[in-house]
């Protein structure tokens, strides 16, 4: 279940894109390394921020993920699945975490991570409740633009996100 959250967090962290009316669209490039396969995969995608929801989609995939605070919707063609986030607090926690980073809510971020900033790069060390999955998180923001975001997982998987434009 965490995987859904991770990507959402990562993608949303890249949110410094253009604002059209009430929608903010962020384009990103993603690089994922899987230790189990010893392989790296690259993808492109975009995150759309609406007033009441967040939408995520990849360039070469028709699946759309929508987060509205209480549920996470996953739609592929006519197939729609729903995850009740009240029953999946861990997933919801990651969305909250993203919002904390994106809107610079330090208090919330400090609930889950210890923060260190050096040479413009922020390192987040997770508290023990999420430390079982995440080794650490690093990101660099230039204004509202996300330079990079790197998540090192406990199982040695790695995710690198870069905002493309």
């Amino acid at each position: 279940m965490y995987r859904y959250i991770f990507v959402l967090v990562l993608f949303m962290l890249t949110s410094s894109g253009s604002v059209k009316e009430n929608v903010k669209v962020v384009h990103f490039l993603e690089e994922k390394y899987f230790e189990s396969l010893d392989m790296t995969f690259n993808k492109k995608g975009q995150i759309r921020f609406f007033k009441e929801k967040i939408e995520i989609r990849y360039t070469d995939d028709k699946t759309v993920l929508t987060y509205n605070g209480d549920v996470l919707l996953r739609q592929k063609g006519s197939n729609l699945s729903k995850i009740d986030l009240q029953k999946k607090p861990a997933i919801k926690m990651f969305f909250v975490l993203f919002e904390a980073i994106y809107f610079e809510k330090k208090k919330i971020l400090q609930s889950y991570f210890s923060l260190k900033r050096r040479n413009g790069i922020t390192t987040l060390t997770p508290h023990k409740n999420i430390a079982a999955y995440i080794e650490n998180v690093q990101y660099q923001k230039k204004g509202t633009h996300l330079g990079f975001l790197k998540i090192n997982m406990r199982n040695n998987d790695r995710i690198l996100i870069e905002e493309t434009y």
Binding site: R3, Y4, V7, F34, S36, P89, A100, N155, D157
Partner: protein, 704 residues
């Protein structure tokens, strides 16, 4: 006043005071309802639960789910976290426990046999590979159970917003662990928390520990008030009646000595004595003073006389009544009975044997206005009273209801109950009911916990996530039987591109059985308590599933009401039987003394009972009502004895004084906020009122 014996009363008082201080008897008095519960397994289990973290929790809620409310609760968290005995509860997770549960999950968790038997390794592996390479999200592979054939444990539904816990839709919620271990520490913790919350009126906060502090404070304040009122009333009353300062001082000293010695003796018998016993002891001293009134008014302190047999039999009846009632298993009544036997005995010995030696001025009738026989009231025959009483008793049987809820005897802390209800009403999680799992060994305890978890998957039972001998053997057999699963996984995964040895730990059950000790379990953050030769652990469950699990004989309720309701029914029956014996004893003593007139004696028994029957129309009857009724009957028969033996003006005066004094002594209990004391007081008032009616309105014996 020159003989040394004249100072014996003071000497006894000093000795009793010395014993009280040196033995620190006053420290054994408890305001807790627990002190009146029998020391059985149930009490031990509830006490065990009260020592756990679940009971030592503080809940704090701010209204609203906006940023302002979030900042507010964060600030409160910081302030409270800085206090002694208060620590914010950040996570329920224990790293060692998670590591252990992960490593041994194949031998701990329940296996989905349907999935296991229909599973196709190449297909599942392909699905896994596709998910990793094409999914939106990084896939976290479970190296031990990559195909998820184990049923995952049900997580607790925790509601959050902006990364913070919420209390339903009300606002943000914070949990704190309270580390205070005794009443003094609880009080400090309570004061500190209230200091922080002083100016934050809109914040809701609650801890079960607050009941200890607030109830204790309320009971102590209540007891203090009753003592002051009682002392003031009795002092004025005795002064008006006796008009002899020296006798008044001696009497007060005797009553104090008897009460102190009763305290000393009782606290040597019991580690914990209810403070209600002490209050009752003060009230019962107003009965003890009867012995002085009768001796004094009949000139026993002025001239040398033989033993006053009426007083002796009066004392003997009351003493025997308490002696019989002391055989009850209800601790409060047992303690009261012992306390009373000691106070009455000491008072009787003083008033009967010491006071005549000391010698006091003669009480003369002309000190009072000699009243003629009261002709205002029409005196009725005892037969009419008897008939009237029996009809009332029969009628009251139609409406009488018993209250077996032990909690109804305690102080009713309405304010705190309201706050507790506030938290429960806003979140279903707080509505869950706690329960106890009991077993002779840790392994059986784990297996019992697993049985419950299997029956009600939503039950929160931390110990169910451990390995038992049964789960170990069962899962080992399953995976050994499906050994091909592991073999195929190792081969096929390599062919598909997974790293060599990546799934080496998958479905490998070649691990030894772990026999946990209680300490190991505790180190995992799971509550296990050893009581005598068995272990208990705790869980919570929704109200609708609660009755389902209670059907197992290893599951026990933590509700005082539920547990002691059955026990209270037994106690009430027990008191009924003992009360019947008291009545029999009273009748026997009455017949020994007065010989005849059965009806006259019976009226003194049935009329107070019928009056309580009337009271039962307005209120349900509890065990203390019944207890007090039998006490009243024992006192009532004293008056019947006095009247039947020596029915002169002095006897009537002595009885009137006794009634007024007893009425004042027990009457003040109706001002109590504590139902236990109120119950005693109301029955005392009704009973003494009934006796007064008999003395005023009933024709004297032999006149019927």
């Amino acid at each position: 006043m020159k003989k040394p014996i004249k100072y014996f009363n003071f000497l006894f008082f000093i000795i009793s005071l010395y014993l009280l201080v040196s033995l620190q008897s006053y420290t054994h008095f408890s305001t807790s309802l627990f002190s009146i519960l029998p020391q059985n397994d149930t009490k031990k289990m509830i006490e065990g639960f009260q020592q756990t973290q679940s009971s030592h929790t503080l809940l704090v809620a701010t209204k609203g789910l906006d940023n302002k409310a979030l900042e507010k609760i964060k600030k409160i968290e910081e302030e409270l976290d800085a206090l002694d005995f208060v620590a914010i509860k950040k996570s329920h997770l224990n790293r060692d426990l998670i590591r252990h549960q992960k490593e041994y999950k194949l031998l701990i968790q329940e296996v989905n046999l349907t999935k296991l038997s229909t599973l196709e390794v190449p297909l599942e592996l392909k699905k896994l590979y596709d998910e990793m390479t094409s999914s939106f999200f990084p896939v976290i592979i479970d190296k031990i159970d990559p195909f998820q054939v184990l049923n995952p444990p049900n997580p607790i539904e925790i509601k959050t917003k902006n990364g913070h816990l919420t209390l339903g839709n009300y606002g943000y919620l914070s949990y704190f662990t309270l580390g205070s271990q005794n009443l003094n520490e609880h009080q400090k913790m309570y004061r500190d928390i209230y200091k922080v919350m002083k100016d934050k009126k809109e914040i809701q906060f609650f801890s079960p520990l607050f009941y200890y502090v607030e109830n204790s404070q309320a009971i102590r304040a209540d007891v203090q008030t009753i003592i002051y009122i009682s002392f003031a009333i009795l002092l004025v009353l005795y002064f008006i009646i006796l008009k002899d300062i020296l006798l008044l001082i001696h009497t007060l000293i005797t009553l104090a000595t008897s009460t102190i010695l009763a305290m000393v003796i009782l606290t040597q018998m019991y580690e914990e004595v209810s403070i209600f016993v002490f209050i009752f002891g003060i009230s019962i001293s107003t009965v003890a003073i009867d012995y002085m009134f009768h001796h004094y008014l009949h000139g026993y302190y002025h001239e040398k006389k033989k033993l006053n047999t009426e007083v002796f039999f009066g004392f003997l009846t009351t003493f025997c009544a308490f002696f019989i009632l002391s055989f009850t298993s209800f601790m409060l009544i047992k303690q009261i009975a012992f306390f009373t036997m000691v106070t009455l005995s000491i008072s009787y010995l003083h008033f009967s044997f010491l006071y005549p030696k000391i010698g006091f001025k003669e009480f003369t009738l002309n000190k009072m206005k000699d009243k003629k026989e009261n002709t205002f009231f029409c005196k009725l025959s005892p037969r009419i009273f008897l008939l009237f009483s029996l009809i009332l008793i029969f009628l009251s049987s139609l409406w009488i209801e018993f209250d077996f809820n032990l909690k109804n005897l305690d102080y009713d802390n309405k304010r705190l109950k309201k706050t507790e209800h506030f938290f429960k009403s806003h979140d279903t999680l707080h509505q869950n009911v706690p329960f106890v799992v009991k077993a002779k060994s840790i392994d059986t305890l784990i297996q019992h916990s697993k049985t419950i978890k299997q029956k009600v998957p939503t039950a929160h039972l931390p110990l169910s996530g451990q390995m038992s001998q049964v789960s170990y053997a069962k899962n080992k057999e399953i995976f050994t039987h499906h050994q091909s699963l592991r073999e195929r996984l190792l081969i096929e995964s390599r062919q598909l591109g997974f790293k060599e040895a990546y799934f080496d730990k998958a479905y490998d059950v070649q691990k030894p059985l772990i026999m946990y000790t209680a300490q190991v379990i505790r180190n995992y953050g799971i509550e296990v308590v050893k009581i005598d030769d068995y272990y208990i652990t705790f869980g919570t469950i929704s109200k609708k599933d609660y009755t389902q699990v209670l059907q197992y004989d290893f599951i026990h309720s933590l509700s005082i009401k539920e547990h002691f309701e059955v026990l209270m029914q037994e106690y009430v029956q027990n008191i009924g039987v003992l009360g019947f014996l008291v009545i029999m004893m009273i009748l026997v003593i009455f017949f020994i003394i007065s010989g005849k007139n059965f009806i006259y004696a019976m009226v003194f028994l049935v009329f107070p009972i019928s009056m309580m029957g009337v009271y039962a129309f307005f209120s349900s009857i509890n065990i203390l009502h019944l207890f007090m009724l039998f006490i009243i009957l024992a006192i009532s028969i004293d008056y019947a004895i006095y009247m039947s033996r020596d029915n002169n003006e002095r006897t009537k005066k002595a009885i009137h004084f006794s009634l007024i004094s007893t009425f004042a002594g027990f009457g003040v209990l109706v001002f109590s906020q504590i139902n236990a004391l109120f119950s005693l007081g109301i029955i005392a008032i009704i009973g003494i009122g009934a006796i007064s009616i008999l003395l005023v309105c009933m024709k004297d014996k032999y006149v019927s």
